[in-house]
Amino acid sequence: MLILIVGCGRVGSSVARAMLREGHEVSCLDEDPESHARLEVGLEKSWEDLGGQFTVGAGLETEALVAAGIERADAFIASTDGDNTNIVIAQIAQKRYEVPTVIARVLDPLRAEWYQRQGLHTVCPTSVAIDMLESAVRKGAEGAGPPDGAAEAA
C-alpha cells in the first residue's frame, strides 16, 4: 500500500515513520527541504535507505503531487499547517486522482465538521484536545483532591 503524506511537520513525519515501520510504502511531500531531517529523527538509517520517498514541493502543484506518486496512492493524508490547504488538496486527491482513502487534518472544529458532512474524512486534533481537557477537568472536580488521579487517567 502506498501512503502519500503532504505536510511533513511533527504530525506528518510521525505518521510517516509509523506507517513505514508497519511495512507500507510511504511518500512524503513538503515545501521545506528541511522537513526531511525531521523525518529521520530517531531513525538509525536514512529515510531513503529504509525505503521512504521524499519530494520537495507544494501540495497544490500538480507536478509535485505526481512526482510524489499520487496517481498510484492508496491513501492520502493532508497534514500541512494550513486548514484550507489541507481541505483543498484532500478534495483534489479525492476528486481528480480518486485516491481510495483520503484524510485531512483540520484544526478548526467548525470547518472539520462541515467538510466531514460533505463526505471528506477530516480529523480534528482540536476537538480531541477539547474532549480530553473537559474530561480531565470533570475528573479533577469529582475527586476534589490531588490532581494525580487525573494525570493517571490521561
Binding site: G82, N84, V88, R96, D108, R111, W114, Q118
Partner: protein
Amino acid sequence: MYIIVVGAGKVGWNLARELLEKDHEVTLIENNRRRYLTVEQELEHNITYGDASELWVLERAGVQRADMVIAVTGDDEDNMLICQVAKQKYLVGQIIARVNNPRNRQHFDLLGIKPSVSATDLILRLLEHEVPEYGLVHLLDLQEEQLEIIEMLLGSDSAVTGRRVGDLQMPEGSLLISVLRAGKGFVPTADTVLEEGDEVLAVLDPGKEDDLKTLFGPESNGSNGG
C-alpha cells in the same frame, strides 16, 4: 445587493469602494489587524476584522443573506475554501474568486468555483490586445457557454475588405456580431460592406479561430504575418 468582499488588499479595497459608490451594501472582511485599521479609517462600518475562512466570521458578516461573495485574498486556498463554503453551505447565489497563481485555475474548476478571475491571465489578454499577433484578439472566453468572442482588425490586404457581409462564407459555429468603424460600433446587416480599418467582433465555438483567420486574413498567402 448585499455583497461580501474578502481581502482588503488593493483589489478588495478598491472593489469595495466601487461597489459602495454604486449603492450596494458591502462588507469587506480583512484578517490582518493593521491593514484592517488602515482601511477602517475610510470604510468605517463597511469593513470587519476576522479570518473569513472561519465559518462564524462569515456568519457574523451576514453570509446567510448575502447575494454575492467575492474572495480576493492573496491566498488561492483561502479563496477556494471561502467560495466553496459560501456557495455550498450558505447557498450564496453568486461567487467570484480571484486566482493568484494561474496554474491553480484547474483546482478552482475542479471544486466548482466559477467564475474565477486571474490578474495574470487578464494582463496576458491585454498584452495580446495591445500587441496583436494575428490581428485576432480574444476578448472573452465564455467557458460555461462554450463560446468565445474575438476581435479582428481588417487590414488593406484582408480578403474581406470591400465585401458584403452577406457574401461572406462564415464558418459554421461563428457569427459576426458587431463592427467598430471610426470609433462607432454597429451591428452589421447582410448589406454592410466591410472597410479597411474596421474592427469586427465575432462570437464563435472554440476551435473555429483558424477558419476565421483564413477568411479574414490577408488575401495572398505570401505574407510574413504569423
